[in-house]
């Protein structure tokens, strides 16, 4: 089965064997493509001693630490073919990743994302509430991860409304009118985990005390962006879902894991609370000490592979996140492929030395 065929197939259909064959072939080809067209990547492969003749499994491919995309401009297409440059939403002062997309990669990202998300929401478009402010997507030349996420998910929305204004205040009247208009229909909600908690959930709680309530029991919420900030508020994923249900009746809540370096191939949380790898991508959890693959259930560093990147060598990446593979092909939700859990970001190194570090200033 080739990549084009895969775009016509249900996204969680491949079992371990079939998927292994598909990934090894496709990712091996992508490696060759990038070797030919990206000189820096070619040097890296040579330094790592990569030999395509000896490749038996996609798990043996070199993986690039994601930070390289912050330090280097890695492109496998001429500048003129770049239609979009995505950047990660780094906090002020930090370097951001720069990801260069050509027409094909950009289109495939959208196709794959539609396939993956539709598996959870159904294929028809729904009225959509974006739990963010409109200004995030204003500058279309440089897409931040937040803006890209919103635009990416907007294709699932038939009619759209931003729930927050540019001061991050909830538009109570607008929201009321929108919900009244589409009463009885399934509503799609999208946003970033921390933003939702801070500017939506907390405001709903406050309004409820004033007697103002919203009924979102027909809604399906997809949210991402990580739990780092919510850990400070001691909010667990379970609690996040429960509390939202309490305040507005929302029952269908799906977290997702994904990164700007591999847009499109997101890992959706299923009804059982597991993140799933689709046919188009995979996670390999590796031991910090030697990068060998972990046993199932063993904590390690997450490597992600994606079959989409044709315009930049980002098809095999080592993240700075820790996670655990929980199982493969046997999740009770019925989807094939690996399912896993993300534990959080690796701790920064504390090292000695003569030069003072000023990192604390930039955090």
């Amino acid at each position: 089965m080739n990549f084009e065929d895969m775009l016509q197939t249900s996204p969680y259909s491949l079992d371990k064997e079939e998927k292994g064959r598909f990934l090894t072939e496709r990712l091996g080809e992508l490696t060759e493509k990038h070797r030919e067209s990206c000189p820096q990547y070619r040097n890296m492969l040579e330094s790592a001693g990569y030999d395509s003749q000896k490749l038996c499994s996609y798990k043996e491919l070199p993986f690039l630490p994601v930070r390289l995309f912050k330090e280097l401009e890695l492109r496998s297409v001429p500048k003129e073919e770049v239609v979009k440059t995505m950047t990660s939403s780094g906090t002020t002062g930090q370097a951001v990743s720069k990801i260069y997309l050509d027409r094909v990669t950009s289109a495939n990202q959208q196709k794959v994302m539609v396939k993956i998300v539709s598996d959870f929401t159904g294929s028809s478009r729904m009225p959509m509430i974006i739990l963010d402010c409109p200004s995030v997507v204003k500058n279309r030349q440089m897409f931040s991860a937040r803006g890209a996420g919103i635009l990416g998910f907007s294709i699932f929305g038939a009619k759209r409304i931003y729930a927050l204004d540019d001061d991050m205040k909830l538009d109570v009247d607008g929201l009321k009118a929108f919900l009244e208009k589409y009463q009885g229909q399934r509503i799609f909600l999208f946003g970033f985990t921390f933003m939702i908690w801070q500017h939506f959930y907390k405001e709903l709680v406050r309004l409820k005390e004033e007697g103002i309530t919203f009924d979102l029991s027909e809604g399906v919420l997809i949210h991402g962006g990580g739990w780092k900030k919510l850990i400070n508020e001691a909010v667990s994923p379970q609690e996040f879902g429960q509390r939202l249900q309490e305040v507005c009746g929302l029952r269908h809540v799906h977290d997702y894991y994904g990164m700007v370096e591999q847009t499109g191939c997101i890992y959706m949380e299923c009804e059982c609370g597991h993140l799933h790898a689709s046919n188009f991508s995979d996670v390999i959890v590796r031991r910090p000490l030697d990068f060998a693959e972990c046993e199932m259930g063993e904590k390690g560093i997450i490597q992600v592979v994606s079959t989409l990147p044709e315009s930049y060598p980002g098809h095999s990446l080592l993240t700075e996140d820790e996670g655990v593979v929980l199982g493969e092909d046997d999740c009770p939700c019925g989807r094939k492929g690996k399912y896993f859990k993300v534990i959080g970001r690796l701790k920064n190194a504390e090292i000695r030395g003569c030069s003072d570090t000023y990192a604390e200033k930039f955090r």
């Binding site: 820096q40 330090e71 910090p288 690796l346 701790k347 000695r352 003569c354 030069s355």
Partner: protein, 414 residues
């Protein structure tokens, strides 16, 4: 206003109480600090200085908690009587000359090395200066041990009190300004950024500054000498102490290992496998370090052809062998056990990485005479050439400076 040669010079007002607000005194006091500009300079290594340091040394060596920290013990040995006497012999005034401390020495210690401040202080103190020392903000146990002993010594030798203030503050420029204004010598550790920070605070016209900038170091191993040595494990231990003990991130830690001689392949195999054993036993690994090293290795690879990652199956020891040395290699230096390696036919090849004022220490196994052809090319770097295991041994000649000379004044009588 005082008038000198017609120019009006403002009175020294910078030690006003409000400028010193926020300082915590770990030794000495605000009053002692306020009087420092008037304290008499002393002759280097004079009797009382030697007594004080010897008492401090003995106190440290008798403290059970100090024994847990080899760096504290090493410091204690450096300031004991016999060691100070040796320094006094090496650094003597020429005929018809008298040496005196320059006055007030203001020390800014690096924030992530525990005992460096103590050496800096001792250097300023033994050369006859009054010392204000900015202590690292990080709470190393070594710091409280040393400070406790210093305060005990100050009890014993009250005449030394005007010469010592250990301070801690939040890096406020106002305080840097105040302390710089009274400094005759400012000693800045902590690398380029700390130096840039301190340069915002002016020094008096006669004051001078000693700065310890970001530096890098390398090791050169003569494979024949290494294989002929009967104490190979000891050599490897020494190398471990030069590197892993400070996460290979001290300015003295070798980042590049150059192999020469006729048996490089065999020597490498022996050396690295012994080192890996040590590392696996002793080094505390943090998960992110493996990712950082891989990132570094790929960054270097992207920049230059001819780098090869050598896997030993353990991220605690990462080696990158190089087909050739290139300028800018050290922009990709790593830490925590990340070594570039190069097989060298001609010692002058090293000029590519040593012809840079950032290049500091070359440690070696073999005969140091081998470096002469390299030095004679007129390299701009290399300030120290020391045997492996001695990279961290502090001396009054350090980082290319003669600290004795920098911290004293010469009065010439003719």
């Amino acid at each position: 206003m005082l008038r000198y040669g017609g120019a009006a010079i403002p009175m020294q007002k910078s030690l006003d109480k409000e400028n010193l607000q926020g300082i915590q005194y770990l030794a000495g006091s605000e009053e002692i600090l306020a009087h420092m500009p008037e304290v008499e300079a002393r002759e280097p290594f004079c009797g009382e200085i030697e007594e004080f340091l010897n008492f401090l040394s003995k106190t440290l060596l008798s403290m059970p908690e100090a024994k847990l920290y080899p760096d504290v013990v090493t410091f204690a040995f450096w300031i004991r009587r016999s060691s100070v006497k040796k320094l006094a012999e090496r650094f003597q005034a020429e005929e018809n000359c008298i040496h005196l401390g320059r006055g007030v020495a203001f020390h800014i210690a690096p924030s992530n090395v525990a005992v460096n401040y103590a050496y800096s202080f001792a250097a300023g103190f033994m050369t006859g200066n009054a010392n204000v020392v900015r202590i690292p903000s990080k709470d190393f146990p070594q710091i409280s041990i040393i400070n406790k002993a210093v305060n005990m010594a100050l009890e014993q030798y009250p005449a030394c009190r005007p010469y010592i203030c250990f301070v801690r503050y939040g890096r406020e420029q106002r305080i840097n300004d105040a302390l710089s204004s009274i400094a005759d010598t400012r000693i800045v550790w902590g690398g380029d950024r700390t130096i840039a920070e301190l340069r915002k605070s002016p020094l008096g016209p006669r004051a001078s500054e000693i700065t310890f900038a970001d530096r890098y170091s390398l090791a050169v191993i003569d494979s024949d000498a290494y294989l002929a040595a009967d104490n190979q494990p000891r050599i490897v231990d020494d190398f471990y102490n030069d590197t892993y003990l400070t996460d290979q991130n001290a300015c003295t830690s070798p980042r590049l290992v150059v192999w020469c001689g006729s048996q490089t392949a065999r020597a490498k195999e022996r050396f690295w496998s012994l080192l890996l054993e040590r590392v696996q036993k002793k080094y505390e690994f943090q998960s992110i370090q493996g990712v950082n090293k891989l990132t570094n290795a790929f960054l270097a690879a992207a920049a230059q052809e001819g780098t090869h990652m050598i896997s030993c199956g353990d991220n605690r020891l990462v080696r990158i062998s190089l087909d050739h040395l290139f300028e800018g290699l050290m922009d990709f230096r790593g830490d925590s056990g990340y070594f570039y390696e190069y097989d060298c036919q001609d010692i002058r090849d090293l000029k590519a990485v040593c012809d840079d004022t950032h290049c500091q220490t070359v440690s070696y196994i073999g005969d140091p005479q081998m470096f002469l052809p390299l030095l004679k090319t007129g390299v701009r770097g290399i300030d120290r050439i020391v045997p492996v295991g001695k990279t961290m041994d502090f001396d009054l000649i350090w980082d290319g400076y003669n600290l004795y000379e920098r911290l004293t004044r010469t009065i010439h009588i003719s």
